[in-house]
């Protein structure tokens, strides 16, 4: 249908529309008009992606000079592919309606592992191996060597692409990962480099967060994206953790050992090259005297995304003399390495800030701050000069150099914690240096600063006000949308007590309590008897799950559950879990029914949807608080309190509730779907917890279902499931939660729609 969104003609590729989609588009339009940032929460399964795409594409078509590009960031590969497919649907609709040829170029970008078509390289299993092998075939000096020595293997696909691929633009269209591969195969071009090149002039780019947020990759891939782009972060409820992860470094003794061998290799290579090809090193030296000026020039034209690792001021300067020659630099690295080794030889926990660390390093081994800051750049240059083929081998020294640059660049927002052993095993020495980012805004700041509109959206972003605070930006729109429902297809219940009236909670003091574990077991057992097909249960942590499963086994609870359903359990091994997941779905599919025991914050809870019969009930055992005894977390909480005035408890609860909401939200993936959401912990009933659930879940949480016993839960659940199992037709929804174009245009409907969005 064709919609009029605040004066903008929007093509929407369906015959019907949900009211909240209309409302969502209105808010989005306002954000784009204001050229500002937005935070939008809309339940999953209400067609968020297609609304976003429809509006932004329409906007791009209407104002091609205002918005030149859409950069859509999602989290996982399947999600990226889903977005592209929805886009394809939209574009098909455009061509059908306007009968004009599509002139849009949209493509997905992923890592080499997902795009490589080289027969040998793509056969490798791990991303790192693929990257390394690719590098050893496509690095510039390898190719130069190939010129003089044709027996040196190179990648034919890259050669072909390099020869002709850049001149001929990729024809307009929608390219998913597989389409890119097909196209590459047809032309004989490397799809990965083709995609990386094509994103510069594509209208829509879909890729993973890391390409924008991780400075190490963003610098390579995204630095030339135009300023007039709209950036969307979908499924952004975890965006702060992604930011923090990309800026944090852990150094163990093993890292240092490997770094030691790296340094030795470098030393040997340098002395060898010195005998054979001294000119090369001299050339590098003079280039370094010139400094990083070239990069600086580019930045002034405002075309490059700034690199947080490389702040502006160091671009003004040349690489300091003390590390300019290759030998000096290796010597410098050696000294730094020895210092780190000494720091790891401790018997008690040390926590210090970056300036303290710098002061200490200056006092102990006379390393200045300035050369440290150039470490990463200097190493990169050296590796290029020395023509090191396998970069992957040098991951340890690269890590150390990144650490050096980061620690000397940022005086705030980071902390250094050195732990001599793990908390659980105090007798085994396993020293780790955590260089931990505490401020997610550091990594995302360049994104907000650079692009005119950044939209952060997800199914669970409550409480909405916290994201602008921790990411340190000013949004123009902050809104949460509910799900309009013709029937209440979600049924959140809080189970607080067992039938024996013993409180159910995963609180630390009582979590090992026999009665609590038994009651949790009984709850699962009872539910397994009444819920059809699939049940997914989440635990607060892996260790907790292991313990509970073991004691359920001993008590014979699992045996009884097996009478009703098959049991599958997430393990720490991803391949094993994938298999369990597939079997789980198979068992749901063939009517046998199954239970999946899983972990909040685990891979399953983050990436897998349990649509329809794959998840008729989700049980959340306990409140998934993060492990609070971790020093890194404590440091971060302290930082949040001091810098953003967020209280520790508020943040912890927020973090726990967003994960709980993510877990239970996995089961509802649309209005025709239905599922029970069981929160098995009495603490959920408290206002501070309940209030942090997304509005679309909170709405259906009645006062009567706040502190149920297992029996009551079973009764309510039975009733709910029986009702939901009745046939549900489109006519039932029409006019309430599903609108035709005429219905949408009626006056009172527009008024109702206005209430859907709740401004925070």
């Amino acid at each position: 249908m064709k919609l009029n969104i605040d004066g903008l003609l929007v093509y929407f590729p369906y015959d019907y529309i949900y009211p909240e989609q209309y409302s969502y588009m209105l808010e989005l339009k306002r954000t784009l008009d204001a050229k500002g940032h937005g935070v939008l929460e809309m339940p999953s399964g209400t067609g968020k992606t297609i609304s976003l795409l429809s509006l932004i594409v329409a906007y791009q078509k209407a104002y091609p000079l205002e918005v030149t590009k859409l950069v859509y960031c999602s989290r996982t590969v399947p999600e990226i592919e889903k977005v592209v497919e929805e886009l394809r649907k939209l574009m098909d609709y455009y061509t059908k309606q306007t009968e004009a040829k599509n002139d849009f170029l949209a493509l997905a970008l992923s890592s080499r592992k997902n795009l490589c078509i080289h027969p040998e390289v793509s056969a490798l299993r791990f991303g790192k191996e693929v990257d390394g092998k690719c590098h050893s075939l496509t690095a510039s000096y390898i190719r130069a060597q190939h010129h003089s020595n044709p027996s040196q293997p190179v990648c034919q696909f890259y050669e072909e692409f390099d020869a002709v691929g850049r001149q001929v633009p990729i024809p307009p269209g929608i390219y998913n990962l597989d389409d890119l591969k097909d196209f590459g195969r047809r032309k004989g071009w490397c799809p990965y480099f083709l995609a990386r090149y094509a994103i510069l002039h594509a209208n829509i780019v879909v890729y993973s967060y890391h390409y924008l947020l991780d400075p190490k990759i963003a610098d390579l891939v995204s630095k030339e994206l135009a300023k007039k782009s709209v950036v969307v972060f979908d499924e952004a409820h975890n965006i702060d953790n992604v930011c923090i992860d990309s800026m944090s470094v852990n150094i163990t003794r093993r890292t240092l050992d490997r770094c030691q061998t790296n340094v030795e290799t470098l030393q040997n290579t340098i002395s060898r090259i010195k005998e054979t090809d001294a000119a090369k090193l001299r050339e590098e030296y003079s280039r370094l005297v010139e400094g990083l000026k070239e990069a600086n020039v580019a930045r002034e034209t405002d075309m490059y995304l700034s690199n947080p690792v490389l702040p502006d001021e160091i671009l003004q300067e040349a690489v300091p003399g003390s590390i300019r020659t290759a030998e000096h630099f290796v010597g410098f690295m050696k000294r730094f390495l020895e210092y780190l080794k000494a720091r790891l030889r401790i018997h008690h926990v040390v926590q210090e800030s970056a300036p303290q660390f710098l002061k200490d390093i200056y006092e102990k081994v006379c390393i200045d701050r300035k050369p440290l800051r150039f470490c990463a750049e200097r190493l990169r240059s050296l590796l290029r000069t020395l023509e090191i083929a396998d970069i992957a081998d040098f991951s340890a020294i690269t890590l150390i150099s990144h650490f050096a640059t980061l620690v000397s660049t940022y005086s705030k927002g980071f902390t250094i914690i050195i732990e001599p052993f793990e908390d659980r095993t105090p007798t085994i020495a396993n020293p780790v240096l955590h260089f931990s980012c505490m401020d997610p805004s550091i990594a995302i700041k360049p994104v907000f600063g650079r692009f005119q509109s950044v939209i952060i959206t997800s199914g669970t972003l409550s409480p909405l006000d916290i994201y602008p605070r921790i990411l340190d930006f000013r949004p123009v729109t902050v809104a949460s949308f509910t799900m309009t429902l013709a029937r209440t297809c979600l049924c959140p219940l809080i189970v607080g007590r067992g039938n024996d009236q013993v409180a159910m909670t995963s609180k630390f003091e009582t979590r090992e309590d026999f009665a609590v574990i038994r009651n949790y077991g009984n709850l699962l057992l009872e539910m397994s008897a009444i819920v059809p097909d699939g049940i997914v249960a989440f635990f607060t942590s892996y260790i907790y799950m292991e313990n509970i499963v073991a004691s359920w086994y001993e008590q014979g609870i699992l045996e009884n559950i097996q009478r009703n359903k098959l049991i599958f359990i997430e393990t720490q091994d991803a391949a094993e879990t994938s298999m369990a997941l597939e079997k789980y779905q198979e068992a749901c599919e063939n009517g046998r029914g199954a239970i999946l025991l899983s972990v909040a914050r685990g891979k399953v809870s983050e990436g897998i949807d349990f649509v329809h019969h794959y998840g008729r009930a989700v049980i959340m055992f306990g409140v998934p608080y993060v492990y609070t005894q971790s020093r890194i977390l404590k440091a971060r909480l302290e930082y949040l309190r001091d810098q953003f005035q967020i209280r520790e408890n508020d943040f912890l609860t927020f973090d726990a509730m967003r994960h709980a909401a993510q877990c239970v939200g996995r089961a509802i993936r649309g209005k025709t779907d239905y599922g029970l959401m069981i929160f098995a912990d009495k603490r959920y009933a408290r206002a501070d917890k309940r209030g942090k659930l997304p509005r679309w879940i909170q709405e259906h949480l009645t006062d009567g279902s706040l502190n149920l016993t297992i029996d009551e839960t079973v009764q309510l659940g039975k009733h709910f499931l029986r009702q939901m199992a009745q046939p549900f037709r489109q006519e039932d929804q029409l006019g309430l939660s599903l609108l035709t174009l005429e219905q949408l245009q009626s006056e009172d409907m527009l008024q109702k729609i206005a209430q859907i969005a709740q401004q925070a």
Binding site: D15, K82, D178, V549, R563, L566, T571
Partner: protein, 562 residues
């Protein structure tokens, strides 16, 4: 093992020579010494010195056997019948009593299930047929309960009628899946003296074998040669394989190999990866952080040494559950897959190749499309179509060809005749001078209307108006019963075997019996009610026809004999 099999030994005291599988002497029953015989179809016992069996049970009648526990002074074997009665045999040969009992028990164990299934299936089948078909049930009541014919005769050609369909349905019968909790169902019981007793049934054993083929293999390797069945299961329950949370593997444990096999199987399942890309957690992340980056503490999976024993056993339990569930699921699917393969093969042979598979988009595409679909947003226009699956496409396009096509008028004929009629209608002119007078016409119409002179009498009143309903239903029953008997009768012709000869004679007498006991009283009844005796005329005719046939056959036989 069974060292006393005496094949084809004819026993003098048995009336018929039966295959005797086992003879055990010195078995007491009701405090009487005697000999126990296990034959092909029954078990029998005769007291010493007598030449007849005082106890004889068909295997099909036996529900189960029970044995006295080890260590009891009396070594006994009890047979429980379906009727609830039981017979106890006491093995009294001091030196070999235990062995004798075990031999008998094992032989029975092998024999009983065969007969059990057969008997039960037959009974079930008969029961089902009677329940599903009220007419048949009535017939059964009329003929069998009133002892016109015996139950066996009644079923004799019923079942054979159904046997084709029966065997068909048997082949396609859905395989019963395995309960996930079958191991849990083996509740160990304490026997009061520091021991455990497990009760195994054939179902559980089958479940174990189907789920864990390795155990079955072990069983096949070891049981007759190296150890007894009991010993095997004892070891099974003692092994860590059953209690999977135990980690230390004793080397002498025969199941440690099974565990290793399973481990291997699990590994290969894992390395095979998953078919559905949407659940492949390995390829979920686009770009994982390199080692050393990130805040999450790296899980210390590599060094299992610093894991406590308890943690190891916990993860062993988890692995076990995943494996167990996968195996149970696979065991259920294994059977289901085989016929579907066959079906697709057959379909590919009859001209309809499997090219439909070629048009199917790859799994990933399908899954993606499924994931982005909002069926409620879509209009009705895009309904999913089901592809037509043709076994024989020529049949579909041509349809059955009529046998006598010349009898059908072609469409051209129809069109022609219509045009002729139209033509005639157009040129129709009523000849008004020759019509009937209006009074004559109206009287004719009244006479022909219901209630008019011409419409009365004539005996055209239907039976259901004349005869009361109870008589009607009785008549119906008579008809079906007679029909059934006549069917039996006529099915004997042509009489080619002595068996049929015997049967036809019997059926004739059955018919006569029927006429005497059923038909006559009914005729008298309707006569008493002054109803037309005509009602049973047809029945009698049918019977008479049968008698005539019989007569003719008999005279011919006589002639041939003389």
């Amino acid at each position: 093992m069974i060292n006393q099999i005496l094949p084809f030994l004819s026993v003098a005291m048995a009336s018929l020579s039966e295959e005797v599988l086992l003879v055990v002497k010195r078995v007491r029953q009701r405090k009487q010494d005697g000999t126990l015989y296990l034959m092909a179809e029954r078990i029998a016992w005769g007291p010493e010195g007598k030449d007849r069996f005082t106890v004889s049970h068909l295997y099909a009648d036996i529900r189960c056997q029970k044995i006295s526990p080890d260590g009891k002074a009396k070594i006994q074997l009890q047979l429980v019948l379906h009727t609830g009665e039981s017979t106890t045999f006491h093995f009294s040969n001091e030196s070999t009593a235990l062995k004798d009992r075990d031999v008998a028990k094992e032989l029975l164990q092998q024999l009983l299930p065969k007969f059990k299934k057969k008997a039960n299936k037959e009974l079930e089948e008969k029961n089902r047929m009677l329940q599903e078909d009220p007419v048949l049930f009535q017939l059964y009541k009329d003929l069998v309960v009133s002892q016109v014919i015996s139950a066996e005769e009644f079923w004799a050609n019923r079942l054979s009628l159904n046997s084709v369909e029966h065997s068909l349905s048997n082949n396609n019968k859905q395989e019963v899946g395995i309960s996930a909790a079958f191991l849990a169902d083996i509740r160990p019981q304490t026997d009061g003296c520091n021991g455990l007793r497990y009760n195994l049934t054939t179902d559980i054993i089958e479940s174990i074998f189907r789920t864990y083929p390795t155990v079955k293999q072990k069983y096949a390797e070891n049981v007759p040669h190296n150890m007894t069945e009991k010993e095997f299961w004892t070891r099974f329950f003692q092994s860590h394989y059953f209690h999977r949370d135990r980690i230390n593997t004793g080397l002498q444990d025969i199941f440690s190999e099974c565990a290793k096999e399973d481990e291997k199987g699990l590994k290969s399942m894992v390395t095979q990866g998953v078919k559905n890309p949407m659940v492949d957690l390995l390829s979920l992340e686009d770009k994982t952080l390199d080692e050393g980056y990130g805040t999450a503490t790296v899980p210390t999976t590599s060094n299992s040494s610093n894991k406590s024993l308890r943690e190891n056993s916990n993860s062993a339990i988890i692995k076990r559950f995943n494996h167990h569930s996968a195996m149970v699921l696979a065991a259920g699917l294994r059977k289901a897959e085989a016929p579907s393969d066959q079906a697709s093969e057959t379909s590919s042979t009859d001209g309809n190749s499997r090219d439909s598979d070629l048009f199917q988009p790859p799994l990933k595409k399908v899954k993606l499309q499924e994931a982005i679909e909002y069926d409620d947003l879509q209009g009705d226009s895009v309904r999913k179509t089901i592809s037509l699956n043709l076994k024989k496409s020529d049949r579909y396009s041509h349809g059955p060809i009529p046998l006598q096509s010349q009898h059908y008028s072609t469409s051209q004929d129809i069109i022609n005749s219509i045009s002729i009629i139209q033509h005639e209608m157009r040129s129709y002119k009523p000849r008004l001078t020759q019509v009937m007078s209006s009074s004559a016409a109206s009287s004719a119409i009244t006479a022909l209307s219901p209630g008019g002179v011409l419409m009365q009498g004539g005996g055209q009143q239907t039976i259901n108006q004349l005869v009361p309903t109870d008589v009607q239903s009785e008549l119906k029953h008579l008809y079906t019963a007679a029909g059934e008997l006549l069917r039996h009768f006529w099915s004997c012709f042509p009489v080619s075997t002595p068996f049929l000869e015997e049967k036809v004679v019997k059926m004739k007498s059955n018919l006569e019996k029927f006429q005497m006991t059923k038909l006559r009283p009914f005729q008298e009844k309707i006569q008493r009610q002054y109803l037309s005796t005509n009602l049973t005329g047809h029945l009698e005719e049918m019977l008479q026809a049968a008698y005539n046939k019989f007569q003719a056959w008999q005279t011919r036989r006589m002639m041939r004999k003389t």
